[in-house]
């Protein structure tokens, strides 16, 4: 297994002085920083596979920061975004945060605010990546179930007792218990409720979370 890559901070601002100064500030905390003058450059350079975060100026020469954020999402870059602005532009701040920006800092900002923001962003990214890896594992396990085990799982998710499941599948209660044992083992579930949580997080069963009439 390869060692996890060191996180990358992408800084985008059209002002060379600001780029140099903010890069230096972040480097004092030993962040890995690369700076870009416009949206085009960062879109070309960003690597979705490397953990990291983005620090974007709201106004860039070729597009505004919100458009850049959307383009990054479209490109599959899910890293957290911190906006920086020299305009005190409240409506834009609201829109940015609504569209998923992590933070919005007004220039000139406090070093602590920026550094804490970047740290939070990298932590969030790491968590997201870890969560994503775990999910992928669960999905993989779900895919390894036999069709009969899937039937038992779905019946369990519907809250049916073993006796009813056995009758519905036209097998003995003992057989249901054996399938259920395999199922728990394959999914790595410690209890029935853990199994339900894992299964409901998967794409196939997410819709069963939708509120509906309670089974009586």
């Amino acid at each position: 297994m390869p060692a996890p890559k060191r996180p990358q901070v992408y800084l985008v601002d059209d002002d060379a002085d600001v780029r140099a100064a903010v890069s230096l500030l972040l480097k004092t905390e030993d962040f890995r920083v690369s700076a870009f003058a416009d949206a085009g450059a960062v879109l070309a350079a960003v690597d979705a596979a490397t953990p990291g975060c983005l620090v974007l100026d709201v106004r860039l020469p070729d597009m505004d920061g919100l458009t850049l954020q959307r383009r990054l999402r479209a490109q599959g870059v899910e890293m957290p975004v911190i906006f920086i602005t020299g305009h005190g532009d409240i409506p834009m701040a609201v829109r940015a945060v609504n569209e998923g920006a992590l933070d919005f800092l007004e220039k000139p900002f406090h070093d602590v605010a920026l550094i804490d923001g970047v740290r939070d962003a990298l932590a969030q990214d790491a968590q997201r990546r870890a969560g994503a890896a775990e999910m992928a594992q669960v999905e993989e396990r779900l895919a390894s179930l036999t069709p009969r085990e899937r039937q038992v799982l779905e019946a369990l998710l519907d809250g049916q007792p073993n006796k009813l499941i056995a009758r519905a599948l036209n097998v003995s209660v003992r057989t249901v218990e054996i399938h259920r044992g395999h199922l728990m083992q394959k999914m790595g579930a410690k209890s029935a409720s853990h199994l339900a949580r894992l299964a409901l997080a998967c794409a196939d069963y997410r819709d069963r979370l939708a509120p509906g009439p309670l089974p009586v």
Partner: protein, 551 residues
């Protein structure tokens, strides 16, 4: 303490007081001497029949002095009047009448001087109103009362002379003297010698010498009447030219000289007016001189009025340019604030990084960061300087300047705006452009107006482009702003430069109108057209400095 300071003030005021007494004594002496001299001269023109002088400039001298230096000169004037009366009519006029005539003259002059001051007369004859004031108050108050007193004095002294016959003779003589001598005295003693139009001493000298020559020839008695009479009108063009081109003092001196020579000649029986007897001849000459003086005073006043109207117009134009500049700054302030906030952000970040580097003992990096901080602060200061230079603007003096130096502050100012609107301005300057003589504040405003219009026209286009070119074309420099926007709507073209002819929301429509006025005030012209390839073109010209044009 207070007594010391009082005595100090008293002792220090003493020399001033004695100086002012000296000044008064000097002016009084000058008044008496001049009054006596012109009185003496006036008695040259006394026809044998009546003993009434046909020109009497003495009242004019009195009026000018009392108007200029105040009522403290009245005692000296009284002395002068009494002395002149005693000198020339001593045997004929009883002492009581001498006193009466003297008092009446003093009253006339006092009323005249008071009237001139009360109604704000300007000794420079700056407005037509000053001419009317001078003629009305001089004629009614000063000459009117002095003439009434003189006629009364003579009528009482001499049986042969009736008051009704002599009054209007005395009055016209007095008024004639007044209009000849008072303007010269008022202008020389009461106003600064100001050269407003080119021409210089050469023109003054030429005018004075030709006028003196012509008048001496005409009234020297050597020319036949058929030539001398028409030639006597040659003074008119000379005086008119002086009124329009020379300082006011030169003009008033010319009319005084023309009058003095003509009257003296005629008084001695020489010249075209001397043929028909002193009485008739001096009266007809007086009419001619009265016309000459009125013409010159009216022209002086009209020229002054035109000059001050032009000065006001120039000042308004300049104020408009400044107002436009401030309004431009207001509109650009968001961009300018951003322009300053960027370096501030960089400085703050450098400072914070420095603190952290110091805490970690990374001295080499710290030194470099502090160097960057210093350089950044200077760059920020430069931004502020450019902004301030544009906002304050230098006083609107015309100065020779290279076209590139005119463009720089404008482009500096508009750079944030260009960045915000994502517009590029391409510059095309000819090599070796000549300097132009302009008021930079005003031409910069024209450039700002044209460039901002162009930016608004092209904003949002993917290939937005503005070209600013400066070329030399013969004796002018052409400055052209072209854009690739939608162009000027056809129906707007004919009245594009009219004030308030705007089609932009939020625009006042004054920018182009003011720009054209500013360019025309510099002797250039501003035109607009749509290019065949699309987009608008604004072109204005500035004349190349005369000296530069030759090289």
């Amino acid at each position: 303490m207070s007594s010391t300071s009082t005595s100090l003030i008293r002792s220090s005021s003493r020399p001033e007081a004695s100086a002012s007494w000296l000044r008064l004594a000097g002016r009084s002496a000058m008044l008496i001497a001049l009054y006596y001299a012109v009185g003496l001269w006036g008695y040259v023109f006394t026809p044998d029949a009546y003993g009434i002088p046909l020109v009497w400039p003495a009242t004019g001298v009195g009026l000018a002095f009392v108007y200029l230096y105040g009522y403290r000169l009245l005692p000296a004037l009284g002395l002068a009047v009494a002395f002149v009366l005693w000198q020339f009519t001593g045997s004929m006029m009883a002492p009581i009448e001498t006193v009466g005539v003297t008092l009446a003259t003093l009253v006339g002059v006092t009323l005249g001087a008071h009237g001139l001051r009360r109604f704000g007369f300007s000794a420079r004859f700056e407005r037509l109103r000053d001419v009317w004031l001078f003629l009305a108050i001089g004629g009614l108050a000063a000459s009117g009362i002095a003439a009434t007193a003189g006629a009364w004095g003579m009528a009482v002294s001499m049986d042969a002379v009736s008051f009704r016959d002599t009054w209007w003779l005395c009055w016209s003589a007095d008024l004639m003297g007044l209009v000849l001598v008072a303007p010269a005295l008022l202008s020389w003693l009461g106003t600064r010698f100001e050269r407003t139009i080119d021409g210089g001493w050469a023109m003054d000298t030429a005018l004075v010498s030709s006028l003196v020559t012509v008048t001496v020839v005409v009234y020297g008695g050597h020319l036949p009447m058929g030539i001398a009479m028409p030639l006597s009108y040659a003074v008119f063009p000379l005086v008119m030219l002086a009124a329009l081109r020379c300082p006011v003092q030169i003009t008033t001196s010319l009319t005084l000289a023309a009058g003095a020579i003509a009257l003296s000649g005629t008084g001695w029986g020489l010249g075209p007016f001397a043929e028909v007897g002193l009485h008739t001849s001096l009266l007809s000459l007086n009419v001619q001189l009265a016309l000459l003086v009125s013409t010159s005073l009216l022209l002086i006043a009209l020229r002054r009025e035109r000059e001050s109207a032009e000065a006001r117009a120039r000042q308004h134009l300049d104020e408009l340019a400044r107002a436009g500049r401030l309004s431009t700054l207001g509109q650009l302030s968001a961009g300018l604030a951003h322009e300053l906030n960027q370096p501030l952000c960089a400085l703050a970040s450098y400072a914070q990084a420095s603190k952290r580097l110091l805490d970690r003992g990374r001295m080499n990096e710290l030194r470099e960061a502090l160097g960057q901080l210093d350089a950044g602060a200077h760059r920020a200061a430069e931004t502020v300087r450019q902004m301030r230079a544009f906002a304050a603007g230098q006083p609107s003096v015309y100065q020779p300047i290279a076209p590139a130096d005119l463009l720089r502050p404008v482009l500096d100012l508009l750079r944030p705006e260009m960045r915000r609107r994502h517009v590029k301005v391409e510059l095309a300057l000819d090599d070796a452009l000549p300097t132009v003589t302009v008021a930079p504040v005003q031409i910069e405003q024209v450039l700002v107006n044209l460039l901002r219009n162009a930016m608004e026209a092209v904003e949002g286009r993917s290939n937005a482009r503005i070209e600013l070119s400066v070329r030399r074309q013969d004796v002018e420099v052409q400055i052209r702003v072209t854009d690739n926007g939608p162009g000027i709507p056809r129906e707007r073209l004919p009245n594009l430069f009219d004030p308030f002819a705007t089609w932009k929301i939020g625009g006042l429509g004054l920018g182009l109108s003011i720009s054209r006025s500013l360019v025309e005030a510099h002797g250039g012209h501003l035109t607009a057209r749509n290019r065949e390839s699309g987009g608008a073109e604004f072109l204005f010209t500035l004349p190349v400095e005369a000296r530069d044009a030759r090289t």
